[in-house]
């Protein structure tokens, strides 16, 4: 279960920014207003997700150091790797929100 925590955070972040964008573009507000809303929302969601991922990664890291001989170390190490990859993917997905207009087709 721990193993999927990090990619689950990525998926939640991904869903959140997509839903936010879809709803914002339906709201009928002006382009500049929506862009601000979307960028602000994406920034908050991304910060939250990255903090969570760092926490997951840090916990896994300290546990794997604490009990290196235990077989459970396997789960911790994969969790650490997954947290790193998920953080990278999260930042990567969020990046376009800051270079593109929100609702242009």
């Amino acid at each position: 279960v721990k193993l999927i925590a990090a990619p689950a955070v990525w998926l939640a972040h991904f869903t959140a920014v997509y839903v936010l964008l879809s709803l914002a573009c339906r709201s009928g507000a002006s382009e500049s207003g929506t862009s601000g809303l979307v960028q602000g929302g994406v920034a908050i969601a991304t910060a939250l997700a990255v903090v969570l991922l760092v926490a997951i990664g840090w916990r896994a890291y300290s546990r794997s150091r604490a009990e290196p001989r235990d077989t459970d170390g396997f789960i911790e190490r994969v969790t650490l790797l997954a947290a790193g990859l998920s953080a990278l993917a999260t930042l990567w997905v969020a990046y376009p929100a800051f270079v593109l207009p929100a609702c242009a087709v």
Partner: protein, 815 residues
Amino acid sequence: MSAALQERLEAVWRTPPGLRALSGVNHSTVGLRFILTGFVFFLIGGVLAMLVRSQLSFAGNTLLTHHEYNAAFTLHGTAMMFFFAVPIMQGFAIYLVPKMIGARDLVYPRLSAFGYWCYLFGGILLFSSVFVGQPPTAGWFMYVPLSSRPYTPDLGPDFWLLGITFAEISAVASAIELAVAILKTRAPGMTLDRMPLFVWAMLVTALMIVFAFPPLILGGILLEVERAFGLPYFDTTRGGDALLWQHLFWFFGHPEVYLIFLPATGIVSAIVPTFAQRPMAGYRWIVLSLVSTAFLSFGLWVHHMYATGIPLLALSFFSAASLAVAIPAGIQVFAWIATLWNGRPVMSVPLLYVLGFIFIFVLGGLTGVMLAMVPFDWQAHDTQFVVAHLHYVLFGGMVFPLLAGLYYWLPLVSGRQISKSGSRLAFWLTFIGFNLTFLPMHVTGLVGMPRRVYTYAEGLGWETLNLASTVGGFLTAVGIGAFLIDIVLSLRFGKPAPRNVWGAGTLEWSIDSPVPSYNFASQPVIEDREPLWRDAALAERTQRGEFFLGDVKVARREMLVTSTRAAHPDHVVVLPGNTWIPLVAAVFTGFFFLGVLLKTYWFAALGLFLATGAFVLWAWRGGRDPDPYAVDIGDDRRLRLHYANVRSPGWWGTALALAADATLFASLAFAYLFLWTVSPEWPPAARTLGWIGPAVALALIAMSSAALFLRAYGTAIALALIGGAVEIAALVTTPLSATRHAYDALVITIWIFALVHLAIAVLMAAFVKARGSNAASTVHHRAEPAVTALFWHYTVAQWAVAFVVVHGFPPLALP
């Protein structure tokens, strides 16, 4: 001692000969049936591909008419995706997973048999469309509005929707079964990090299927209901939306690609270490790659919809995710290369196919990265470039590993070695033929030829390229033919293979070949990732019965259930023997689908009723043996049987099935919310739902949960029935008309969905009450009440969510 034990086990586990073999439920039997049937569909799909290629060889060719060409490519795609790629990989898993994890069978043998029959009958149903002259023609993704009734009035889409949905039952059923088997029935000591990577790949794939297939099943049901009864879910003029289909289809469709590809990587990760004679490099990294691919694949679906007018920024999110998925794929490729680099590779036939896979798949992956870019995709969208890309990924990423796997495990199944030269000839024919077909096709697409056109004019510069592709296509077909002949010859004339012919390290090779039906005379203790490399005598000791459950007096099918992470023995599951019930239940389910197809609804209702009866009988016959309630497993240990356990395999399976069901329901809620955001009027004018009646119903239903918790089954059933009746009354008195507007249609659909669940919950509770296993004193039968309670509370929670969706949106929403 050991001979007597083996004889005894064979008598208990074997599949009977002759016609009675159809009642067999053993995983080896069912797995081979899946593989064989899947291969037959592969050949059918291949013939259709040759028709497509023949038609395109010359400009203005008239071999096929427009309609026939459409049918050929639709059936080709459908056969390959739904009836070959997914089922044959599941067949591999059903056959191999228990052997790799040291188990004697899968956890729900009757369910695997049922799944197989659903798959077979679904395929027959779909392909029978050809014989009545009404094959589906709208492409393998059945886009609306082309596939809706006004534009395709014949039965083609109905054949497709019903055949696919029927076969889908099998995909979800075997996914649930595999996941529970892998998590709960590994041999003692096989911790998660000692599982073979093929098993990891199948675990991830199975869990993906649980979440990926329900949206398609829902889409299929909605489209069939729209076609049959005119409920306008996808009809823009009545509040529906055509894009809803695309969202539902691709939310399934993209993970689908990975759930074909991940098992194939599992095969490769099984073969590479054997022939490198080294443990797989980067085991942890591969597990990471499998898990993250699974998650990322759910964030890619819109990359099939770049051209549908979604905001550019939204497309960029999906573009980023599509690019990110290249990272885990790359990790695996480098891990394979590193393993081969470290070892001393033996250039044998399975490895040759694996190298072919790596070469082709990497090319397909690279064009995938190109297509993930929105501007490039807009240029290449719907051209032959996409066709070339997807064949590189799927043929390279799945068919080559599949052929490698067939050669690799064939000696285990047949007890005979594979040929040395025929197999290589087949490889080179297929490899060269494949590249000759699809490498030029990239160019064909880039110079502008669209996909799915049945002919083209001269002088556009497409002739030579198309002719080359056709020649290549037939060369590939010859290669596959050579493969088949080679397999048949080696089955007939191959040299007898010794045990563990390749010198592999994983547990399935400790079994004698051909394989005995019980796999392991005793269930071994695992201490390593490659147990056979660590302990050369393991196979002998297992077959002598030195480990767990090697009792010579055994009279029923027994197997260990172990803990999820550490694989400590926890209890013993008694598996059902051969039975006709799965076949009978599948036939009755087939009546239902046939009745819907032919619009003879009394026949469909009869089929549903009979199938339900078969399922009740199924449940009644299972999980109830008299004393003793515990058995000696050897090593002076005694364990309880599964039906005394709250967390029985049945409980885990139900939990996963409910996860799939929750996804189905979430897709339905998504449909409602999606149409709310795109529909100009939602709800349409003059539609007000009263909420008092439904609120009373909700309160009653919620109380039934409490009653069930207190084990008052009668009260719970009564409350549920009254609550259901109140909701029906509230619906009937509301001015809704299902065919007038998508809003009405969805409200009614959501409540019917909830009511059907309530009916099933009531049936289960009545079953438990009739069996008398609800009394608190019967400590030996805790499994069934636990499963029923799980389902019941879930149903109540779903009911509450349905209430919130229907009555909370849009009144609570912003204007």
